[in-house]
């Protein structure tokens, strides 16, 4: 059901899925350890001003793409096919729901990055 008036979208979903899979494996362990485990446990003290400056740079955009957007599309693809494995959903609505959620998360992340840049 990935056809849209004869347009095959599966290569796009698969490309985002595999790029997101690499990012999930290579970048997420480090990011989650630092920002979601060690910092909340009080082992690391984060400097908010330095983080905001770094996040609003071009490196911040790369970070957002590799750590939020691509893994979101990876997750969307797996959830879509996981639903099919569980004989749930299928058809257009799971496509719209899964990739739509990933697109929303990505758009929000890009907007959040833009809000931190100096030219906004």
């Amino acid at each position: 059901m990935s056809r849209f008036k004869g347009l095959h979208l599966e290569p796009l979903w698969w490309g985002l899925f595999s790029a997101g899979g690499v990012c999930f494996a290579v970048f997420l362990p480090a990011v989650l350890l630092v920002f979601a485990v060690l910092a909340p446990l009080g082992v690391i003290h984060l400097n908010m001003n330095a983080l905001a400056t770094a996040a609003g740079s071009i490196w911040g955009l790369l970070f957002v793409g590799a750590v939020i957007c691509l893994p979101a599309f990876h997750a969307a693809h797996r959830i879509r096919h996981g639903l099919h494995d569980l004989k749930l959903g299928g058809g257009l609505w799971s496509v719209v729901l899964c990739y739509g959620a990933a697109a929303l998360i990505s758009a929000s992340a890009l907007w959040g990055w833009l809000a931190l840049t100096s030219w906004f």
């Binding site: 362990p29 909340p40 908010m48 494995d85």
Partner: protein
Amino acid sequence: MAYKAPMKRSWWLQHAAFRRYMLREATVLPLVFALCCLLAGLWSLQTSAQFHAWQQFMAQPWVVAFNLLALVGALYHALTFFQLFPRVMPIRLGEKQVPAALMVVAQWLGVVAVLLAMLWLATSGVLGAWQ
């Protein structure tokens, strides 16, 4: 009419390999939670009050537990993904095939390098420091 083999929704419970497959697929569920946490963190960087609130949210035991699960999920995904890579994309250097084990080790070295770089950024004073 052709015979269509019946397949129950619980088909994946019948074999250990199927269960491992479904477990691997399920590693993205805590990942989605963690991505939303990181997204909230990005948005919270606009004011110090919001950033403080985000830090308090992240320090709650159930949030740390879910994020730890996401970390374990990421490592399990990496474990399975790295074994897959040499089979999907075998690399040849001249006449010789690069051994699969070497490619797996190289990928783990990449993970460790990113981990050390991130830890250095977060603890050397660039983005933060040891508490």
